[in-house]
Symmetry: C2
Subunit: 154 residues, 2 copies
Amino acid sequence: MTTSLDTIDHKILKELLADARLTHQELSERIGLSPSPCARRIRKLEADGYITGYSARIDEAAMGFGVSIFVSVKLDQQVDNKLVTFEQELTKCPEVVDCWLMTGSFDYLLRVAVRDLNEYESFLTRRLTKIRGVASIESSIPIRRVKYQPARLS
Amino acid sequence: MTTSLDTIDHKILKELLADARLTHQELSERIGLSPSPCARRIRKLEADGYITGYSARIDEAAMGFGVSIFVSVKLDQQVDNKLVTFEQELTKCPEVVDCWLMTGSFDYLLRVAVRDLNEYESFLTRRLTKIRGVASIESSIPIRRVKYQPARLS
DNA sequence: GATGAAACCTTCACCCC
DNA sequence: GGGGTGAAGGTTTCATC
């Protein structure tokens, strides 16, 4: 099923990462191939799981959610049902855009996107601290995103 | 230029966040509109900066970069040229997929995507610690991504 | 916001190396 | 195995209502 990727596949991924709405024709011109093998390769990259979908890039600030906060969360116990409860509740929160289960001194690292610090306060007091098992919370405020790639390619 | 978004615009953004390659026809069926006003609204959302582009979602693990590490970096001084140097060097590193300038006890928060911990070690020793002004580094290893949305919509 | 026609793109069978 | 060609069908676009 899955063979390893060659140079052309890498070029296709790079172009589609930059612009997913490229037509097969334009893509084929950029990588120096005709449209039909191009389309075949894209289908294979999708079937093999290299490409999992396509997303619009949406400007969070334009949407009114220009403030991001990183939140480190510690639970009182790392037992399975506490983790499950926390994750279920958290998945429901639209403010939480990214969440990782961590090793080390904290259990979860979250990125929360909010309108302003008032909205963050109500998220903290009404939602996050209300989840059973949450022992402590530490907030870190970023100034600016310096670099962002949705995924590493090379 | 920018008027606020109505329900239909929100539906369009939601659908394009989930699948950026939807045709205008299919999108119009899902939101209950005909294709051409649908296309007009998309162009307006792009022109007004709500949609900044379209990306393929690429599976980092499939690409061989299945290990993510969060790295907190502190510089010896927060003077402007140290920040500029650090950011320039960092932008060149393919391993660094996400980087934020932070307030508080650390200066930068990075997410690094690597093949394995050996590659991470060589990134640390050969690249990150070689950048002038880096005073200290703390690595945190995630187990699993619990939730991920490229952007908050509501 | 809808309609319809022209231009464009995708797709597939088929051919080639 | 992979890349190219051309024709059929579908999609986008634009003027128009």
